[in-house]
């Protein structure tokens, strides 16, 4: 028989008026969007700052003991890297170079700093197919790849085969790759280490090739990273340290979290989103209860307990969270895309983050539902008569 069966009161009440439901879902989805945007900024910061570390083609990395986050430059002597090769299990080492260089895109434009990444392009140092594919071409003097996602507002437009002025030299940009700007740099260039050395040769710097920023260590097949790491630490001087990629990423994130009030700022934003969502949800459910106060009082009159009715309202809250989360997630993905276009910050929603926001949404709705449900307790079943 159509539309009979056990009465599912909470869902029936919530979904009965489709227009009302749409408004409710929009409200809660908005709160979901707010929360996603806040964690989006926070994670965008942490993600974009660690993106380079994640792309390093290495089993272990070596950095200066004092190096904190990726873009706080603190190189170490190349000799340390060479010594790493003496340790059992190490198959290959490669220096990875970073340097701020001055870029002038078109004649007459202002000069801006850009982060130059360099390595011996014969060996792919980045897990980046575009960079790897163009390895050989980068051996030509005064050539580079440009980060397609670099901030155009700062550097202007990059395009393949265009020439730019770097440290006073004319350099040919061959093509693009993607690394995304972040809070440290507005963009990246990628080149062979010899080309970086050529650019910097004139301004009195030491030979850059002797001072890598990051040492990439690749292990022999079957070697245990933890054991090799311990061996390396024992073998090398104290001015460098050896990290797994995961450790390196963790150190970068910890650095940002501890030295900048980012967690507080975005955490507060998240709380605001949560509270706004609670207020919206409370308002929706309170109105709904008020609209159905006669029906609720009737249920009390025929022997329903306060507990049952409160659970019904809480279930309404839970259902509202469930149906609103999807639209909220979709809206957030769209909004992330727009924000990424505007800020260039790499923003993404992982399964884990989506799950976290879903739980927050659920808690938000159920808690505010339980607050709204207090109205049910005050209802007088005697008022139904008369």
């Amino acid at each position: 028989m159509a539309q009979t069966g056990k009465p599912r009161l909470a869902w029936a009440m919530l979904s009965h008026n489709k227009k009302h439901l749409l408004v409710s879902v929009t409200g809660i989805a908005f709160a979901v969007l707010l929360m996603f945007v806040e964690i989006g900024f926070l994670n965008g910061l942490l993600d974009s700052e660690t993106l380079l570390a994640k792309q390093l083609n290495a089993d272990l990395v070596m950095t200066n003991q004092k190096k904190s986050y990726t873009y706080a430059l603190n190189p170490f002597p190349r000799e340390r890297l060479a010594r790493a090769l003496e340790v059992d299990g190490v198959r290959q080492v490669q220096g990875f170079y970073m340097h701020w260089i001055q870029l002038k895109n078109t004649p007459g434009q202002k000069i801006h700093s850009i982060m130059a990444l360099a390595y011996d392009t014969a060996l792919p140092a980045l897990l980046n197919p575009e960079a790897a594919a163009l390895g050989n071409a980068l051996k030509y003097p005064f050539t580079a790849l440009f980060d397609r996602t670099s901030r155009k507002a700062v550097y202007g437009e990059f395009s393949p085969d265009m020439d730019v002025e770097l440290e006073g030299h004319r350099v040919r940009l061959l093509s693009g790759f993607e690394l995304y700007p972040n809070f440290s740099t507005d963009g990246h260039l990628l080149m062979d280490r010899d080309n970086l050395a050529r650019l910097l040769a004139g301004n009195g710097s030491d030979n850059i090739v002797e001072t890598p920023e990051i040492g990439l260590i690749r292990l022999a097949p079957g070697a245990d990273p933890v054991r090799v790491k311990q061996a390396l630490e024992a073998h090398l001087q104290d001015d460098v340290r050896v990290l797994t990629k995961v450790q390196m990423i963790q150190i970068i994130q910890d650095k940002w979290k501890s030295e900048q009030p980012v967690v507080e700022v975005f955490g507060l934003g998240l709380a605001v989103g949560f509270v706004i969502g609670m207020i919206i949800c409370y308002q929706i459910l309170f109105t709904d209860i008020s609209d159905h106060s006669a029906e609720f009082a009737t249920l009390k009159a025929i022997g329903y307990t306060n507990g049952y009715l409160i659970r019904t309202v809480m279930a309404q809250g839970a259902y509202l969270a469930m149906v609103s989360f999807g639209p909220g997630l979709l809206a957030s993905l769209a909004f992330y895309h727009i924000l990424q276009q505007i800020t260039g910050i790499w923003m993404t929603i992982t399964f884990f983050r989506a799950g976290g926001i879903f739980l927050l949404t659920l808690v938000m709705c159920v808690v505010s539902a339980s607050l709204a449900a207090r109205k049910v307790i005050r209802m007088d079943p005697a008022e139904v008569f008369g």
């Binding site: 028989m1 009979t4 069966g5 009161l9 029936a12 159905h292 139904v384 008569f385 008369g386």
Partner: protein, 377 residues
Amino acid sequence: MKTDQNVEPSTPAVRIRDLNHYFGAGANRKQVLFNIHLDVQPGQIVIMTGPSGSGKTTLLTLIGALRSVQEGSVQILGQEIFGLAGKGLVPVRRKVGFIFQAHNLFDSLTAVQNVRLALKYSDFPKKIQEPMAVDILKRVGLEERLAYKPEALSGGQRQRIAVARGIVHHPRLILADEPTAALDKKTGRRVVNLFRQLAREDGCAILLVTHDNRILDIADRIINMVDGSIASDVQVDQSVEICEFLTRCEVFSRDTPAQLAEIAQKMTVETFPARSRIIRQGEAGDKFYIIKTGRVAVLTSDPPGTDLSGADSRVVELGSGDFFGEIALLKEVPRSATVMTTEETETYVLSKPDFLAAVKKSDPFKKQLLDIFFKRQ
């Protein structure tokens, strides 16, 4: 229901003693119910009337365990509810069937689902709850509307869903507030017949607040409340019988029904075994009698000489519907005859003050009586 099996057949569905109720507190405290006494037996259909503010709704909410009893005793289906509050009242409510004037159906649920709400706390297995709801909706004539939501139905159809919800769980006591107000003649009759069936077949006690005079005929009793008290409590069958007796007599035949009903209401039942004396000649008269069932002999043993009874000693046989005892009351004289039962006799009795008051109210009544006396001589 399980709990109902504990209720003895003789236990009144409702038993109220010395019930007083107040609204407000302190200086604003206002008494709304005064010393209510009321027994409602299983199978009885009671209609409560009275102007708004007379306390009938308050009484109904107290009987339905919708508010706490403040003073006095209220027993519902054998359970005392004085002293219960909040959660304690909830199980009592589940045994009662409520039909509210504002039917308060959930717009989001179908007719069947709305009715099923009332089965949530019943002992009926989940499996049969749906068929029960369907069945009861069929009985109120909504078999074509089972899966409709209230907003797609007429006021009368919604009302019938509310009726179905009130009775689906087989309550032993039904409290109904204007259950037929939104119904047309035919569907109203259908609901009324259903009530009658519940009362007769299931022994369900039904308390109705209604102003719908089309359904007065189902009442076994009509209770009229005024200013927080029970102003009258009429056993309808008995009253109707008395009025019929009264109108059959020439004396009362020209009284209005209202006058007759007023007299009837004040009469009580007295039963005498066979061969017993009801009144004795020469005693002071204090009551007026109508014979309900049985037969009596009227004997005048003394020789004539008294002012009204000039005839010889004689025996008159009186039977059902006949009356006696009026002369001594009207004339303030001793009984002019002795009345003996010849078989077991049930009488309706009116006390002297009530009788005189009734006579005084109606001059034509007095005149008629005097005419009768004149003819008797």
